[in-house]
């Protein structure tokens, strides 16, 4: 087996036993990128030299035999909306130019402290706004399973890099499904932790009441390892939680007997691709056979989630993106006065989806419309959250499809923004309610494209979500399927 194809737990074990070195592993991953990324286009920036340097340092630490993190010496990819000191950060936007971050995001600092090797920064929809990675200001990323298809978004580069073995694992961010939907499209495991579980310090803000950092990995065991390294309170992020961090790997017992699994009837509706429904139903049957109790539940406000999300998220984005004014960093246009400098810098620097969302957000917050749109959405958001509170009185986890269809064709939805927004229907409610949820592969459709199963947990109960996902992987082989590249 090629070294680049290893999972994080496999690579970590081989490094620890000194069967391989971090330099060998990192070289293998960099060669894999060189051999495949002209087709996949997952990376915006490669950090070849610093990665090799970090690998050498990791080998020295491994040789010392001191106790260390399972991430020590493992090559990882980071979505390009995390600040990385000394490594260009673009957020896939022209407005940031060649921005060189003066500090590391907390999540990145934790990876570095654990001795992980950072091989590069992955592509995304500009400012994480999109479901296809087509909104990157630089180029679209292709799905490794079919290069004519989207990898999902916004963490499309990270998902494609993991699926194509261009890294051992990756970091993503998820505001409305941006880890889970690309994970589903590319056949990898993506976990959005509870709001507040992982620090967002140094993440380029999109919608601050929902943004969350999470792992994108080749299997659930890896997801547990990476979450362990990321989770915990950070004084630099006032929304990060003091809630105790569980031992996620210890939670993977493979046991789901008597676990109550809720299946929301509103998630099985018209318009879902038949193969997606079939695979998800099959997975539910599998859990039942393993001894879980299946409960039909209701999340009655599901059909309002897209409208609520695109009001709340765009309102927050329009305010977060006000900082791109061309004064202290980023693109500055040459103009006659201050106001014109702002207006032209922002016109030239932002892409069309970002402008659309700034316009929507500004509209719903503007005088005369604030009550009708923004406050109305915040009231319905409470109803959506209460739907989950009520459902979790009857079940321990909720199982749904991750997306209503498998990966669509590049260009298929670019001219129709609302159609693109509606494809987030199964993931956005979870961000509105602040819950943890994971997507893992549960089948392939007739076009050989991966199908994702979503497992939603109670607040701060990532351990149960991971346990359920791992038990499924122990009984099935979908997570081991690889695209032919």
């Amino acid at each position: 087996m090629s070294l680049f194809a290893l999972t994080l737990h496999e690579a970590s074990e081989k490094l620890r036993r000194r069967e391989i070195s971090s330099v060998e592993l990192t070289e293998a991953v960099l060669q894999r990128i060189a051999a495949t990324d002209d087709r996949v286009r997952a990376y915006l920036t490669l950090a070849r030299d610093s990665a090799m340097e970090q690998a050498k340092q990791a080998d020295a630490r491994l040789a010392s035999g001191q106790p260390s993190s399972p991430l020590l010496g493992v090559p990882l990819a980071v979505k390009d909306n995390f600040l990385t000191q000394g490594l260009r950060t673009t957020c896939a936007s022209k407005i940031l130019g060649d921005f060189m971050p003066p500090y590391d995001a907390t999540a990145v600092a934790k990876l570095r402290a654990a001795g992980a090797v950072i091989v590069g920064k992955t592509n995304l929809d500009e400012f994480a706004m999109g479901s296809s990675a087509e909104n990157s200001a630089f180029f679209p990323t292709c799905n490794p399973w079919n290069l004519q298809r989207i990898p999902g978004g916004s963490s499309g580069g990270s998902a494609a890099a993991v699926a194509a073995d261009q890294c051992i694992a990756a970091l993503g961010t998820d505001t409305g499904g941006s880890i889970r939907q690309p994970a589903a499209c590319c056949g990898v495991v993506g976990l959005k932790p509870t709001y507040g579980r992982v620090s967002r310090y140094g993440i380029i803000a999109f919608a601050s009441s929902m943004d969350q950092v999470g792992p994108m990995t080749k299997d659930t065991r890896d997801s547990a390892l990476l979450l362990q390294a990321l989770a915990g309170h950070d004084p630099a992020d006032s929304t990060s939680s003091n809630h105790a961090v569980a031992d996620y790997s210890a939670a993977l017992t493979g046991e789901v007997k008597n676990l109550r699994i809720g299946v929301p009837k509103e998630y099985f509706v018209g318009g879902m691709q038949p193969e997606v429904e079939k695979s998800v139903r099959e997975a539910i049957r599998q859990f039942e056979q393993a001894g879980a109790k299946i409960e039909e539940i209701s999340l009655p406000h599901t059909e309002y989630a897209v409208a609520v999300y695109y009001i709340v998220a765009t309102a927050e984005a329009s305010s977060n993106l006000a900082r791109y004014d061309g004064m202290r960093f980023g693109h500055r246009a040459d103009a006659k006065d201050l106001t014109e400098t702002y207006m032209i810098s922002r016109d030239e620097g932002f892409g069309s989806e970002v402008k659309r969302r700034i316009m929507l957000g500004t509209y719903v917050l503007s005088a005369g419309y604030y009550d009708a749109y923004y406050l109305k959405a915040q009231r319905v958001r409470r109803l959506i959250k209460e739907d989950f509170d009520n459902a979790f009185k009857r079940c321990d986890v909720i199982v749904t499809p991750t997306a209503p269809t498998t990966a669509f064709k590049i260009g298929e939805k670019t001219s129709d923004p609302l159609q693109m927004y509606l494809s987030d229907i199964y993931t956005i409610s979870i961000n509105l309610a602040g819950l943890p949820a994971l997507s893992l592969p549960c089948g392939l459709d007739n076009n050989n494209l991966p199908i994702g199963l979503q497992i939603i947990g109670k607040h701060f109960d990532e351990a149960t979500v991971l346990r359920v996902a791992d038990s499924y992987e122990q009984e099935t082989n979908w997570h081991n399927q690889k695209p032919k590249l």
Binding site: P102, G196, S209, P235, S238, T239, S241, K265, E266, F268, V269, G270, G271, M272, S298, P300, H301, E303, Y304, A307, V308, Y310, G326, M327, R328, F329, G330, H331, R332, D337, L338, T339, T341, M343, R346, D347, K355, I358, M359, L360, T362, Y363, V364, S366, Y373, L375, K376, A377, Q378, R379, V380, R381, R382, L383, K385, P417, L418, Q419, L422, G434
Partner: protein, 113 residues
């Protein structure tokens, strides 16, 4: 609220919306957002925003008169800390990204007429 099976995740999209936006109101919002829009962008955005805002009117199907505003996904308290310097700003690194600088200052267009 429609029952399960009755709604289609794409169906709202094919509905006819009554929402009407004028180009003047789009221009007003663009000015608020400090965005210059070309004529083509303005005209495309007028139609798209009309469609998306029309879709959002779906929320009016719900009576929310007695629903409290959402504030936070979980109970959370203010995060307070001692008022002392915690970071050590690196002036050079911070100014390295400036479009224009003057020694240790950001250089910006004239602000006061």
């Amino acid at each position: 609220m429609s029952g399960p099976g009755e709604w289609h995740w794409q169906r709202p999209y094919v509905k006819n919306f009554s929402m009407k936006l004028t180009r003047a109101s789009v221009q007003r919002v663009a000015t608020l957002a400090r965005l210059r829009l070309t004529d083509d962008e303005e005209s495309a955005l007028t139609g798209q925003l009309e469609q998306i805002l029309g879709y959002m009117d779906k929320l009016n199907e719900l009576d929310t008169a007695n629903v409290e505003l959402f504030s936070h996904a979980m109970d959370s308290a203010n995060a307070l800390r001692e008022d002392r310097v915690a970071n050590q700003p690196n002036t050079e690194a911070l100014l390295a990204n400036a479009p224009e600088r003057d020694e240790t200052f950001f250089r910006v267009p004239k602000i006061i007429e």
